[in-house]
Amino acid sequence: MTADDNYNFGFLDEQTKRMLRRAILKAVAIPGYQVPFGSREMPLPYGWGTGGMQVTAAVIGADDVLKVIDQGADDTTNAVSIRRFFTRMTGVATTEKTRQATLIQTRHRVPETPLQAGQILVYQVPIPEPLRWLEPRETETRIMHALSEYGVMHVKLYEDIARHGHISTAYDYPVLVNGRYLMRCSPIPKFDTPKLHMNPALQLFGAGREKRIYALPPHTDVKPLDFADHPFEIEHWPEPCALCGATDSFLDEVILDDKGDRMFVCSDTDYCGERREAGHRGRMSPPENLEAAE
Amino acid sequence: MRMIDVQALHKTFTLHLRGGAVLPVLRNMDLAVQAGECVVLQGPSGAGKSTLLRAVYGNYRPQSGRVLLRHDGGMVDIVTANPRQVIDIRRRSLGYVTQFLRVIPRVPTLDIVAEPLLARGAALPRARERAAELLERLRIPRKLWDLPPATFSGGEQQRINIARGFCAEFPILLLDEPTASLDQDNRRIVIGLIDEARKRGSAIVAIVHDAETRTAIATRLAPMPALEAAA
């Protein structure tokens, strides 16, 4: 598909993209540090990924292959409309395959397929400031970052353990980047948090409403906060993916009927599909001959 | 050995709320007390006996003169000593007993009595042992020892205060009417305590009004004439 000539490549004008790239460069230079930028109006409301879209618009090139995921799926409304938007604004090729993509914009998940050097992962971020829940003043949180005053972040984890017996923070798990800046991972499940650590891809984070960009350059140290006697742990599921049998991916619970029957399936549709193509089977997979007949 | 040496002490009170009226109380007061002496101040009411005791204790600040007290092997002027020195002198060398107990909320009787000895550095068991001994002697019923004295009778509070005053065995003791309103038996117990302290070598200055006690404890009387009020 070719780009709509009525718009500049990537929707934003070149000056704006330059401003965004400067912010991104600064963010890459100071891993985990939130760089303010002049967020623009996008043809989507805040909360629908405007921060991620601006970052994507600033880094996308004509040769890029774009993948957009929302909750692990390429086919949700949000993913579809963002993908369609960039197709029209840039004419770049799109894909649902993690391996084939050069640029991936995501909401709520990190792909299961390990990322490669040269790939860029753009996160949509609703609230970038990890200290906001305890300190409403921006002036104060900036000082806290400047002085690495992060001890209080453990208060939240302490409360989790006191109430639930374990750290119950399941999404947007707080991490310390490069031993220096406290960072929010955006609302990805904590299952994905370890994937940020030493990842060979470039990871960029954009918050449109809050006007902040931050980044993890390739191979950056990312450490989840925890207690010595309550170490960070990821989720586990009682059974493998019902479709592909995967035991190493993030599973969504699907209720099958009103008798309480349920199944667990990969949230990453691309990963699940790739495994099934490779011949992996799960509990609910159709018989092989039937599938072969299709 | 000279323990107290009051020299040319001059004390007036300026009452700013009474238009700056000046009340002279002590003029050119001298008093020297040796170890093992018990000096009883004598004079009409208003002669400044209590004021002198309080000035020696460092509680009242005189206009001029010196109050030298033996402390740490030397003589220290409590008039010019800084607050921390005054606290140190009081903690280790100087005791002051009135008939009024300043009650500290919730602190049990035994600990109130033991506190000065603890502050002098004694171990808790030793301090409590000495406190118990004094309470026993002053006939405070044992069942009261663990209670704060706030609700006790006036006589009991007074005797607890005396026990507290004698607990630390200070080398210098100032007594302001320690036996006032005590019955005869209790008064004799207190006289016994004063006598023992003196025989141990304490220098004592006392104000007492009843003749029996005065005769019993005084090794010397120090007369204090009344000053003419000169407002």
Partner: protein, 260 residues
């Protein structure tokens, strides 16, 4: 001179104005290890402003605050950089506010409130944090079962005791207190005063206590400073100052109170 014979804090010539109103005028003081210094005066006397300046919560117009820290030697706090000042405050100072809600995180549990200063200093052992928090609840006479309850479910007296525990848990050398018994009923006050008196002695912490209540000052303070219109009008031993006040204003203060 040994460390014990030197002041912890040496404050010289603090001035502070709000427009034409001079809240602190050439205020100087010394604070020695383990002593309680009371600052008394009416509201508007500048005592709370002074406390805020000492705590670094308000900039002074001029003056010096020399603090003898355990690890960093003598530091002039007004000229120190923010990072160093905040680090020293966190490690070696405490601040007890008049209203417990200003000094506590009301939505978090009592345990988290006591644990937070320790976590801020790097304590990362949950079990240890809880044990220390329990010890401190006991020390301030709050039932251990309340460990996981939020302070907003506590009485005023309990909240204030919790705030004191939170401030002492890191064993600070100086604790600033702003009317710590201010909003409490008289019976609750007595308990708090006794507790404060005991804890301050046990932990050998130096305290600057701002209060308008001379009874509180008499019970807790070794020394007093009387402030009026931003100036120190009289200073000395607590009992000297209350029993033989020299300055007209101190006499007025003392005469306005029954049986101090």
């Amino acid at each position: 001179m040994s460390a014990l014979e030197m002041p912890l804090l040496n404050v010289e010539g603090i001035n502070k104005s709000f427009g034409r109103q001079q809240a602190c005028r050439e205020v100087s003081l010394e604070l020695w290890p383990g002593e309680v210094l009371g600052i008394v005066g009416e509201s508007g006397s500048g005592k709370s402003t002074l406390l805020k300046i000492l705590a670094g919560r308000l900039p002074a117009d001029s003056g010096f605050i020399h603090y003898r820290s355990t690890e960093e030697g003598i530091v002039e706090l007004l000229g120190a950089n923010e990072a160093q000042r905040r680090r020293l405050m966190r490690r070696e100072w405490g601040f007890v506010q008049q209203h417990a809600r200003d000094g506590l995180r009301m939505g978090f549990s009592a345990g988290a409130n006591i644990g937070e200063p320790m976590m801020a200093l790097g304590q990362r052992d949950y079990g240890h944090l809880r044990n220390i928090a329990k010890d401190w609840l006991r020390a301030v006479e709050i039932p251990e079962e309340r460990l996981d309850d939020a302070p907003r479910t506590f009485s005023g007296g309990m909240q204030q005791r919790l705030q004191i525990a939170r401030n002492l848990v890191t064993h600070p050398r100086i604790v600033l207190m702003d009317e710590p018994t201010g909003g409490l009923d008289v019976s609750v006050q007595a308990r708090l005063l006794d507790l404060l008196r005991r804890l301050v002695h046990e932990h050998n912490v130096a305290v600057i206590l701002v209060t308008h209540d001379l009874g509180v000052a008499r019970l807790l303070a070794d020394r007093l400073m009387v402030m009026r219109r931003g100036q120190v009008v009289e200073a000395g031993l607590t009992d000297q100052l209350l029993d033989d006040p020299q300055h007209a204003y101190t006499q007025l203060l003392v005469s306005s109170v029954l049986g101090v």
